[in-house]
């Protein structure tokens, strides 16, 4: 397929059979579920040590009471209702309750400081805030002076709020109580509510999700019912999710992922959402429930794997050997088996055995025994980690999405899984790549716009309805999958015009445990060069194993043997780059290993440990220059801040290595 021609999502306009399909808002879906699967579990919450379950019929009642209760508090169509707190049933109900009245829920990150909250609450003109507990109440009260629009705060946890002034404070119980009374008192109330539900249309604004803005103020993404519900429905179709799924809701309510996975998809498919007891018990609770459908950012899988390996180190020698034997076997064959590729019988048998002895128990410990679909997204996941879980027989897949798209842009269909792609366009999603390499998409999930921010909306949306993702990527000819290489603005061009995606290259390098940080240069240069940080722990142990003596980080970093080892990694990276038409031109020609660790205290990294490329470029200007003239080493003196805050200067001579680029692979599926 062609890079600049739109790639159509395969299943195109898949026939939608679910009768609930007619329901185009959440309240309608709720009513539908309450009717068709009244007694099936809709939501569970581990509270006070046991799992409390609510059926669809029950939550319908709760939501309706809640909704009517809110109405008596004066919540009206078009009003905004903030939802702040961890994943709890009643906070999810709050959203639907608001939507029942045609009001718009605005979930807000619970860990946001009062300042940020104030901004969102003000900007969204929130009139009612439904919050979890005292902590959140205090936060809001601390800024209530500025929130003229805010009329009521409704809280879930009563504890600690007894002696507060309850003029503007209501407990959810209290509100539901009011609702119940009203419904009991006048028969009209029920029909009035039904009417207001019926009044809701798919085109209406369903929710506003504020994207935690890395740059500047966060933007309020407006999503309509159609956006969310159709995306959710397509998502369900894509993974054949049905009413039997079990999912753990543990990611922030304000994050679009949670809104789709734990709210929209549940309402559409009718499966059960499980709310953990507390953040520290999520793992335990996941095991108890045994989720069938899971979502987590890469770091969670990373931590889990590290934990596993660390623990296994403490195991007895025999067990450890057995473990590694089977894990290696799984790494070799597991994915093939999962992808239904032909596998020799003996390998299958060994895998079976391994499943009894290792994989099964492991999955059991992870609480993933019953997992059918697991997603990782947000950022690139290390191929090793990704393959590890796949090898165990866990159907872990990658997904590429955005708030602006109601999550789904691309995802990996079963059986087509690659560690370094983000899959094919989802059902009903069109994806194209413009000549700058930026990825654009068009889908039913395309957001209505940024709340009260037409300019930004215009920036993001092309007149003909395409949305700029701000990410640069390309379609991998071999697999037809999309590959995301970097933020579009960071992508540059070499002088010969080839695409240069620093992050993409850096990530490839960083997947080697020995390499801690990497900074790639090349924009407006003739070739790509990189500065590397070795990982002291990893390389240190390597040094011990290979009896390489070293006194300091600097010494180890400068050691020729280390250079040789790192050079191997670089060459491998080149090889993998060479396999990709778009990237092949941007292979690494020269690299150096930095004499000191990049450090946030020196302003070289952001507090979130992202490299600040430009800053580094000028700070290490001499080195950068040396990388591009053909000197084999360069001197550098940099000011550093020590742990105790003292400043000092480190001077060093840094060696520079050349690497030969790998031959470019013959291009498959030649562009027409």
């Amino acid at each position: 397929m062609q890079a600049d021609s739109p790639a159509k999502g395969e299943h195109g306009a898949a026939p939608v059979t679910d009768p609930g399909a007619t329901a185009d808002t959440f309240p309608k879906l709720l009513i539908h579920n309450a009717r068709t699967r009244a007694d099936r579990p809709a939501i569970r919450h581990k509270d006070l040590g046991i799992w409390r379950t609510w059926t669809w019929a029950e939550i319908f009642e709760n939501v309706r009471e809640f909704s009517v209760g809110l109405e008596t508090l004066g919540l009206a169509r078009g009003d905004k209702l903030a939802v702040i707190g961890s994943n709890r049933p009643r906070l999810y109900w709050a959203m639907c309750a608001a939507q029942g009245l045609g009001a718009v829920p605005v979930p807000i990150y619970a860990d946001a400081v009062a300042e940020e909250m104030a901004y969102v609450l003000e900007h969204a003109e929130v009139t009612v805030a439904v919050v979890e507990d005292q902590e959140q109440v205090d936060k809001i009260l601390s800024i209530s002076g500025r929130l003229t629009g805010l009329t009521f705060i409704v809280y879930d946890e009563t504890r600690g709020l007894r002696d507060y002034d309850h003029a503007r404070l209501k407990s959810i119980d209290g509100v539901q109580e009011r609702g119940r009374d009203t419904l009991a008192r006048d028969a009209a109330a029920a029909s009035r509510w039904d009417a207001s539900v019926a009044a809701g249309k798919g085109g209406d604004l369903a929710v506003i999700l504020y994207t935690s803005g890395t740059t500047g103020r966060s933007k309020g993404v407006m999503l309509s019912y159609d956006n969310v519900i159709i995306s959710a429905r397509n998502g369900n179709l894509f993974d054949r999710l049905d009413a039997d799924e079990e999912i753990i809701a543990y990611l922030p309510l304000a994050w679009v992922g949670d809104h789709i996975f734990s709210y929209a998809q549940s309402y559409v498919a009718g499966f059960c959402v499980n709310c953990p007891e507390a953040p520290e018990t999520v793992a335990e609770d996941r095991r108890e429930i045994g989720t069938t459908y899971a979502f987590a950012p890469p770091r969670i899988y990373e931590n889990l794997l590290t934990l596993t390996m660390v623990r296994m180190e403490d195991a007895g020698a025999v067990k450890r050997r057995m473990f590694h034997f089977f894990i290696n076997h799984a790494r070799k064959w597991g994915e093939k088996i999962l992808n239904k590729e032909p596998v020799p019988l003996w390998a299958r048998l060994v895998y079976r055995l391994g499943d009894i002895l290792v994989y099964g128990p492991l999955k059991n410990r992870f609480g993933l025994t019953r997992i059918r679909v697991g997603y990782t997204a947000g950022e690139a996941i290390g191929p090793e980690i990704f393959r590890f879980y796949r090898a165990l027989g866990i159907n872990l897949k990658q997904l590429y999405g955005q708030t602006e798209a109601s999550v789904y842009i691309t995802a990996q269909p079963d059986g087509e899984i690659y560690a370094d792609t983000v899959g094919k366009p989802n059902i009903g999603v069109d994806v194209k790549i413009d000549d700058t390499g930026e990825v654009l998409f068009k889908s039913p999930g395309v957001f209505a716009g940024y709340y009260k921010d037409p300019e930004k909306t215009a920036e993001a949306k092309t007149p003909d309805g395409w949305v700029r993702t701000g990410d640069a990527g390309f379609f991998d000819p071999k697999t037809g999958h999309l590959k995301i290489i970097d933020r579009a603005k960071d992508v540059g061009k070499l002088n010969d015009g080839t695409l240069f995606a620093p992050k993409y290259i850096e990530n490839k390098l960083k997947f080697y445990p020995n390499i801690r940080e990497a900074v790639a240069f090349g924009d407006h240069c003739d070739c790509v060069t990189v500065m590397l940080n070795i990982d002291l722990a990893a390389v240190g142990s390597w040094a011990e194993r290979n009896t390489v003596a070293y006194g300091s980080y600097q010494e180890l970093a400068g050691h020729p043997l280390v250079y040789d080892m790192i050079a191997k990694h670089v060459i491998e990276v080149n090889r993998s780059l060479a396999e990709e038409r778009v990237m092949a031109g941007a292979q690494i020609r020269r690299f150096l290993i930095l004499h000191k660790e990049l450090d946030a205290d020196d302003g070289e990294l952001t507090r979130t440990q992202k490299v600040r490329r430009s800053f580094i470029a000028e700070r290490y200007e001499p080195l950068v220059r040396a990388l591009y003239d053909d000197s084999t080493q360069a001197d550098i003196a940099t000011e550093v801040t020590f742990e105790d805050g003292r400043k000092g200067v480190i001077a060093a001579t840094v060696t520079i290595r050349d690497v030969v680029p790998a031959p470019v692979a013959p291009v498959l599926g030649k562009a027409a």
């Binding site: 569970r44 581990k46 040590g49 046991i50 799992w51 409390r52 379950t53 095991r287 108890e288 429930i289 045994g290 596993t308 623990r311 296994m312 403490d314 195991a315 007895g316 067990k319 057995m322 473990f323 009894i356 002895l357 290792v358 099964g360 128990p361 492991l362 999955k363 059991n364 410990r365 609480g367 993933l368 025994t369 019953r370």
Partner: protein, 358 residues
């Protein structure tokens, strides 16, 4: 490894408080019961049933009794043998006076007599702990043992000075006396033991169990929390003696078919004590494991060597048994003070966290 807990979640406190919260355990239990109730009676020969299973169960019950006192409440007793005796003689007297009342009722009822006596001899536990109390219980042991021989009324003035078990029937089927088949007696013993084990586990998992363990772990704190020490300890003595009593009654009526006081000597007390030390203090399972080990050991010693062509004298077997038991006790106290039960637990835990070491 065998344990796949993912997906086993509890939606009620009842379920969460259950004695066997894990599905795999419940299944295992059912299998065991099936074997005990169906497989063994059908396939087992007389020797297995009469000389191994029946006594094993009876000893297990006695061990449970002592474990409630020593393992759960932390009160060391050397009188359990005598309390078994009380049960036996009580049952004998009751059934002689009321021959028409079903013997099984008397077997259980005799427990109450034992409980009463136990409670009386438990009185000192208010003031004294540890081996002081142990010595106090010795008083019970010797005094009762003495009365079994000296008070002729207890054994109906039989010239033999022993209890002679009369024939009693259930639905016309003889269940005691010479005509009762091994299977019948086994099944009755089994049922009583299973039932009483269930009761015991209910008690130790509830308020009373917690009170006992509180007294065991930190009696001062327990009292400061409103637990009255004397009633709690006496209750432990009573319940414990009840179990020993029933065990004693069954021992005479459903196993020996007759006995004299020597059966309830201090050595019996020691045997029971060793069962729980080796099996595991503060564990019902431990009582079974301990009983199995201590009781089955000599049998193995007696019957295995000849199979291997090594002739051993019965006496020698006994002596060797003594030595092994002694050694085992020391071994367990050193290696695993919580006995076989803890080993089992550890094993189970290992299976649960498999492949992880913890």
């Amino acid at each position: 490894m065998l344990y796949r807990e993912a997906g086993q979640y509890k939606t009620s406190y009842q379920a969460d408080q259950a004695v066997f919260p894990l599905l795999q355990d419940r299944v295992g239990l059912l299998v065991i019961l099936f074997v005990a109730y169906v497989v063994i009676p059908l396939t087992g020969n007389d020797f297995l049933i009469n000389a191994v299973m029946t006594p094993f169960l009876i000893f297990s019950l006695a061990a449970i009794g002592l474990n409630l006192l020593t393992g759960y409440t932390g009160l060391l007793s050397l009188g359990s043998g005598a309390f078994m005796g009380v049960g036996a003689y009580a049952c004998y007297k009751l059934t002689t006076y009321f021959p028409d009342v079903n013997i099984i009722i008397w077997i259980v009822a005799s427990g109450f007599v034992a409980a009463l006596v136990g409670a009386i001899f438990g009185l000192p536990s208010l003031r004294i702990k540890g081996f002081y109390l142990a010595i106090a219980t010795l008083a019970a042991q010797f005094f009762l043992e003495w009365s079994f021989t000296r008070v002729a009324w207890l054994y109906n003035h039989n010239v033999s000075g022993a209890i002679e078990v009369p024939q009693r029937t259930l639905f016309g089927v003889p269940i005691t006396g010479p005509n009762a088949t091994a299977e019948t007696r086994y099944l009755i013993v089994l049922t009583i033991v299973v039932g009483m084990t269930w009761v015991a586990s209910n008690i130790v998992h509830g308020r009373i169990g917690r009170m006992w363990m509180a007294v065991r772990d930190m009696d001062i704190a327990a009292e400061l929390m409103g637990i009255r020490l004397l009633p709690t300890k006496l209750l432990a003595f009573a319940v414990s003696s009840f179990y020993c009593g029933v065990a004693g009654a069954m021992m005479v009526f459903l196993w020996y078919g007759g006995a004299e006081s020597t059966v309830f000597s201090i050595n019996q007390s020691f045997t029971i004590l060793f069962m729980i030390i080796i099996g595991g203090l503060g564990s019902l399972l431990g009582a079974y494991l301990g009983a199995a080990l201590i009781f089955v050991l000599p049998i193995v010693l007696r019957f295995v060597p000849p199979k291997l062509g090594i002739p051993v004298h019965a006496a020698t077997v006994e002596h060797i048994t003594f030595m092994i038991v002694g050694a085992l006790i020391i071994f367990f106290l050193i290696v695993e003070p919580h006995g076989l039960a803890r080993l089992w637990q550890i094993g189970k835990q290992k299976l649960r966290v498999w492949p992880f070491p913890y």
